[in-house]
Symmetry: C2
Subunit: 651 residues, 2 copies
């Protein structure tokens, strides 16, 4: 599930990115009538285009795309019937893991099922989302958050049967994904109903986000497990097209139960130095994020050589590949990295507090706790992709008198383990939940990873105080406050994107529950929010408003579910207009609490709230922020209109 956002990385010297055109692909596919050879050629061309898409986007999952590439190539060209056409009798295919979306996109483009121009628009607004979305043609389900696939397949198949339609549902599951409980929850009903038209493929590449599956949370005897749940199991080399064919041929003869093909694959298959050899608990380097230019160029060299060698043996001319300039991105000049600062401060505190135990769900480096694991391994617990287990285990640990600190991405921690967080709260123990990748950006991964609902999801948990720091300094203060001062539990919400920040907290600043701090003085409007994304954009909005004669203050209120009404009166009552900002849905975000507090405190300000109202779009960070109206320009425009309304009303 890891997400490395390299969209801000300047690629030294720029360079040309290589892709295969539709003509080149068709030329290659026409070179042979041997289906295995044809599939091998097509898969490598798709690998080339997958790499191109990821380099252009600046992020994407190479390892997972490449391990699944041969399987999906064979499925879509030789096995599936009218896949995803919706016709009676047609098969349905989708990837439950979803992280291999670039592989499927490149294949659908190669097969003419998606417009070729989309090749240039991975993770861009209106283009191809980082994880699958049914808004894209031939994409059958929204995935990316893990473990839902078999349940969805069950519903689809029952639905198709209800409508009198035949056809199979074939889905791809990651091996790390098998750590999610929902997978096992969904196996039994499918077996009990003897749904022989459901075929799952496990892309068993032995790696997950952080390290090897065996090192993170070993799967044990997966064949036995599926069999014990009543599934027909077949094991095959997922890069051997004959073995894949034979597996499906075998499945055709079994009609009274669901089937699973456990496909032994190699993460990063197809580019020698990207292929996962056993790294144990070392991090695999090509899980997420665009590779460095030198790696990219070497990979292109390998792939194009192999493609052309294959063509040469068929007596065909070498392909000419197209190229496009590598985008040059302007990185932040001196960005603050809140998650890194958090992890550093946590480690420092933990060294003096033996009661601290860190829990992780396969997002070690994304949560800033790599050094913790290295330096305090006896107090580090890796749970794998098992958020519910992790949170309840932390609950048990807290009952034993220790202080668990639980890590994952905000979108998974706050929702997958929602009931478990509440259950822990009812035990009145103290637990710290550290949730990264919060908010709208990075915009590339798409809505499964854009956590814009977590304030609402956890904000009402009794005793749980939610905080989002706006700078490295506030991140350090926040974890220290959660450990040393807060008697109850804390939810720490972090924006993961490194950002240049135009403001600094006052030197004397300390966290006080429900009370904010003025970052920038102003007279007419208070822009109130939290976190680096909102505060930086509010600051730039204030810059824009100043020459228009509107003086906007910027107020940081890191408390996401606490508003001190006395502070509100002191700090905000003097502003005729208050604009609340949410890096979250407006519905049940911080803004609604501020607005309610304004009403309850009898502050007579005009209140306007900015934030999301629809499912987050996928795109570059700038695109997404503008699309949802939370970039500086949109904030300035909204503030200006609120100000005009207020001045008209008072005139």
């Amino acid at each position: 599930m890891g997400e490395k956002d390299h969209s801000d990385r300047r690629l030294a010297g720029g360079g040309a990115l290589t892709y295969a055109t539709l003509e080149a692909i068709e030329h290659a596919r026409g070179a042979t009538s041997d289906p295995f050879e044809r599939a091998a050629l097509l898969a490598d061309l798709c690998r080339l285009n997958t790499l191109y898409m990821i380099m252009l986007a600046g992020s994407g999952h190479i390892g997972s795309s490449f391990s699944a590439m041969d399987l999906i190539t064979w499925l879509w060209t030789e096995e599936l019937v009218n896949a995803n056409s919706g016709e009676p009798g047609a098969d349905t295919y989708f990837s439950s893991k979803g992280h291999d979306a670039p592989a499927l996109y490149s294949l659908l483009i190669a097969l003419g099922k998606l417009e070729f121009d989309l090749l240039h628009r991975l993770r861009r607004l209106g283009g191809l989302p980082g994880h699958p979305d049914v808004g894209t043609p031939f994409i059958a389900a929204n995935t990316g958050s893990l473990g839902m696939g078999i349940s969805k397949a069950y519903g689809m198949l029952r639905g198709r049967r209800q409508a009198g339609k035949a056809g199979r549902v074939v889905l791809m599951i990651g091996d790390g994904e098998l750590q999610e409980g929902q997978i096992w929850e969904s196996l039994q009903p499918v077996a009990n109903e003897r749904l022989g038209d459901i075929v799952a493929i496990v892309d068993h590449n032995k790696y997950q986000s952080d390290a090897t599956v065996a090192a993170v949370s070993d799967l044990g005897r997966i064949d036995d497990k599926f069999r014990a749940f009543g599934w027909e199991v077949r094991r095959a080399d997922g890069h051997d097209f004959r073995a894949i064919r034979d597996g499906f041929a075998h499945f055709a003869s079994v009609t009274d139960r669901p089937k699973v093909l456990i496909a032994d694959t190699i993460k990063g298959k197809g580019v020698s130095f990207m292929e996962g050899l056993s790294c144990g608990d070392q991090t695999y380097q090509f899980h997420a994020g665009a590779p460095a230019l030198e790696h990219y160029l070497a990979a292109v060299g390998e792939l194009t050589d192999r493609i052309n060698r294959r063509l040469a043996t068929r007596g065909r001319t070498a392909l000419t590949f197209a190229s496009a300039p590598q985008p040059v991105r302007t990185p932040p000049s001196a960005p603050e990295r809140l998650v890194v600062a958090y992890g550093d401060e946590l480690l420092k505190i933990a060294k003096t507090r033996p009661e601290i135990i860190v829990f992780d769900a396969d997002l070690l480096s994304d949560c800033g706790i790599e050094a913790f694991k290295e330096q305090l391994p006896e107090r580090f617990i890796e749970c794998g992709i098992a958020e519910q287990h992790m949170v309840s285990a932390a609950g048990g640990m807290a009952l034993a008198g220790l202080l668990p600190i639980v890590h994952s991405f905000a979108s998974f921690l706050s929702t997958r383990a929602n009931e478990q967080i509440y259950n822990n709260a009812t035990e009145r123990t103290k637990i710290i939940y550290a949730a990264t990748l919060a908010g709208l950006v990075p915009g590339g991964p798409g809505h499964s990873h854009q956590s814009v609902r977590d304030i609402s999801a956890v904000g009402s948990v009794p005793g749980l105080v939610a905080i989002e720091p706006c700078s490295e300094r506030e991140a350090r203060l926040a974890i220290r406050w959660a450990i040393e001062e807060n008697a109850s539990s804390t939810y720490l919400r972090f924006v993961s994107v490194p950002m240049d920040l135009p403001y600094a907290l006052p030197p004397s600043y300390a966290l006080r529950v429900g009370r904010g701090v003025l970052l920038r003085e102003g007279r007419d409007i208070a822009l109130v929010g939290y976190g680096p994304l909102l505060m930086a954009n509010a600051w730039h909005a204030a810059d824009e408003l100043a020459p228009q004669g509107i003086s906007a203050a910027v107020v940081n209120l890191p408390w996401l579910n606490r508003v001190d009404e006395a502070w509100l009166r002191e700090a905000l009552a003097r502003f005729p207009t208050i604009v609340t900002l949410d890096n979250h849905y407006v519905a049940l975000g911080q803004g609604v609490m501020i607005a309610a507090a304004v009403a309850r405190a009898g502050v007579g300000a005009d209140v306007r709230s900015i934030g999301l109202i629809d499912t987050p779009a996928c795109g570059s960070n700038a695109e997404v922020l503008a699309h949802h109206g939370v970039d500086a320009a949109s904030i300035a425009a909204a503030a200006r209109s609120a100000w005009r309304r207020a001045t008209r009303a008072s005139a």
Copy 2:
């Protein structure tokens, strides 16, 4: 998980309830030095006292308590070392299913570990909660929501090891509970770490809330499943103390892996006519709720006869049992049953709309859909206790063009399947979620079942409209609106307790998004809320305020996450004081949205919000409502103080 609330049932003629005093229990335990005979005697005495507690409380799980009774009796008297004492080397025991709490309470009382007087206070404020809570001595974990036990045990054990303490963690799991994915999610990490000090017992009584496990969602080969996950498995008759002893003796010899005792038990064991014979998909009658008086008296007869016969064979005199009067409860005279009305209307509509498919998670009768299953079985899908699977399956079904209607208790549906509901929403399909047992009451089951967080948990899901109807008529309107008028998804929230309602909706009333309706005219204060519980209590509060010269209007706003600002101005701007009411946490309930809308709309009213601020207490309905300040008297008092503050301010 079912909850039958019979606390309002008048028991014809009253009667005497029988229990064994501590003296009687000690006399019986002293009658024999044979541990098996002693355990049998004690278990039956505890069954008697369990029945007493449940009759007094008016609800509780008999079947699950009785099937586990022999196991926990043996464990606590012969197997566990210093159980739950917290001492170094002590064992820890808890029940993951939690529904057997009355059995454990009666045992802890019999062993002198809980004060005897608590026998009279099951499900009462300050007494023994309906499901376990760590606030009670010797209760090691909060359970009742299913599937969290093994994860908690893992955390406890790792925590104890971290603190240098020895001892096992032994936990009880229900067989229906094995349908929860978290169980399987948690098995592997425990096995991978070879935690031989975790022992799980499956109380395999073959029944769950609705029917037999085999009929609801068959578990298949559970021995094989646990083995495939790396656990040591032993099977035993859970009512044969020698077999239980032998199982634990075997486990003592296995130190390199966790162990599970699959205990074959009989639901309702110990009272002939309560023992579960195979009912297939017929409902088992003694799952939840107090039995009828005649059944109770017959059960007491059986148990006391057997106890005294056993004593007689040991040459001991018969025990004298104590008795207490059966409480006489005043039932509502003409209660409205919203869930029943909902189910009836749904069935009516479904007969003309073949696209409707109903999903259930083992709460058939609690969700008003028994008749649906009976009359339209081909459009009814039973998922078992597998909310995540159910919700994602509904998502797949909706993608196939059908209209899924998904049922469970609000506390489970909104939180266990939280991410799945969101994922479905991102696919922009239409799904209806029907959530019953919402709000503070019934107060008996305790916080695992009191859903006071669901508006917050689902309220920000994009496109999802949340409604709570206030009467049978509005319940019918709501499901019809969700099916026929709403283009997107709906969350229907229902109070399950039957109530007399002092108001009626205007004859011409129709649902209009975000717009409320005046139920009672008033001048000074608007009491605004939703649902039968709040509206009835607001009405009675208004009755109380009237003679004090305060004229309170009662306004029903069934829209939990939509407020139409134009309606707000029309309907509420005339009130100097608005009191919002939430059968939910104040934080992120409807009240905060109304207060925010007041601020945004520039309505100058004084706003006060009433609702929960802490974990819900367990108790009788009246106790719980008063405790949390949402009964009529508390609402009247709060409204009066708000009114005084407003009139002072304007004076």
